[in-house]
Amino acid sequence: MDVWARVTGHEEGAVGALRGLLADLLRARVVDAVLVPRPAPGGSGVVPALVSRPEDVADAEPLAPVMPVQGARLVSALTAGGAPYRLGAVLRSCEIRASIELAKLKQADLAGVTLIGVDCLGTYEVPDYAVLVAGGADPVAHALAGAPQGTVSPLPGAELRPACAICEGFVPSGCQVTVALIGVEGGALVMASEELVEELGYERVAAPQHREETLASLQAARRAERRRALEEWRSRARDVPSLLAEFGRCIRCHNCMVACPICYCKECLFRTATFDHAPAEYWQALQRRGALRLPADTLLFHLTRLNHMATSCVSCGACSSACPSHLPVSTLFAAVGEEVQALFGYVPGRSLEWELPLATFREDELSQVTR
């Protein structure tokens, strides 16, 4: 059974507690290596790092509100086929959900992985975060200041990533260690198995008194914001011309696909010659149509990607953050994603046991499709 505990014997505050927790997990050999954000080599920005020495977590930035890489991609790289060591991974809830989807897609092996889920206080776009930090702001302190009351707002003048602003799933689930910040007074509390808490020698505490209600009210606010944003999108993109008005600028750079944690295919259809054409075919098509939009097949790319991965979309927004044309990719995927997930009664990232909708079927279903 999971119990609440306070990380003891380390620096004050949530960041100190998290660094201490990671060092303790390494020292106690609960894990052999930890995946956690750290200042980038050279000191500019924060990047994910894999560290094995307890002293190397001293400068970890586990709460830096920025997601340069969707962590599930790294969990996949580090565990697919089985890792020869025990990994501990500090992840946001959307990264955990994507990791679970990747495990079901056989692209990650979570057996033996200690998932350390941290309440997500939202993230900024990477360039915005750099500007904030360069300007002397402390985005971590700002986020932590509001966490006990469940006030998760960006720094004045800044904005959270659009996907974060409409995220209801900021509390991690399905992890071995939960680091709770929202609705928790005086830094972080952890929730983990009784055995682990005992092994680390942490002081057991009562469940934080106001956490449930604080989470519920923030979730309600986010749900309303999500409804509003997705309804606004649906009214804007209601037919093919209006969809083209939103996506017509796509240059098919595939950045969204590369950044997407779910798009794992080593040989994506769009990286093969499947839809390539010989020069003579362009000429033929030109004579038929009079003009050709280039590069071609941009809408085909997005619609196909929806078909291939929207059932597993965890709404992390990595696609939009990667888009050089600032297309509303994550809004499209969130809006369509919730509809197709409802079609199959599927919640991505909820459980390893829950079969992927396209990997299974029932004999008695969907009879309306063939009528």
Partner: protein
């Protein structure tokens, strides 16, 4: 005067059932409208929705997918998987402003030449009633 609208329908037919059904319709000299361009697949479950989308985005007025009746799949359960994919595709089309009713999935066996001809007649009439695809004449998407 503009030419009268003739629907262009791309049909993806499974090798073992619907394609054989289409073949039977032909050898039985059954009449059905010549608006259908047939592409043979080994299984309806092998159809990537990308090809359906490609046809629609290139201006096809309708896409027909034909597979074996439930329980008859040559590969055990490809048609059940096709049904999930087509249900998903239709939901995505609906959500992105396309007309999902321009895509039909039907089960037609190798012995059902008559049903094939009848279904093609029905689909051509239904698409004719809808009018041309809004993507027709589009210079790119």
């Amino acid at each position: 005067m503009a030419e009268a609208f003739e629907p262009r329908i791309v049909a993806f037919l499974c090798n073992w059932c619907t394609y054989a059904g289409a073949d039977l319709a032909g050898t039985s000299r059954l009449q059905y409208p010549p608006n259908v361009r047939i592409i043979r697949l080994m299984c309806s479950g092998a159809l990537d929705p990308a090809y359906v989308l490609k046809a629609l985005l290139e201006g096809a007025d309708g896409v027909f997918i034909g597979g074996c009746h439930p329980g008859d799949c040559h590969y055990q359960n490809g048609n059940y998987k096709a049904r999930r994919r087509v249900a998903l595709l239709k939901k995505i089309l609906e959500q992105t402003g396309f007309d999902p009713d321009r895509v039909w999935l039907r089960w037609i066996s190798a012995s059902e030449g008559r049903l094939f001809a009848q279904t093609m007649t029905e689909m051509v009439a239904a698409i004719r009633a809808k009018g041309p695809s809004p993507l027709r004449g589009q210079w790119g998407t």
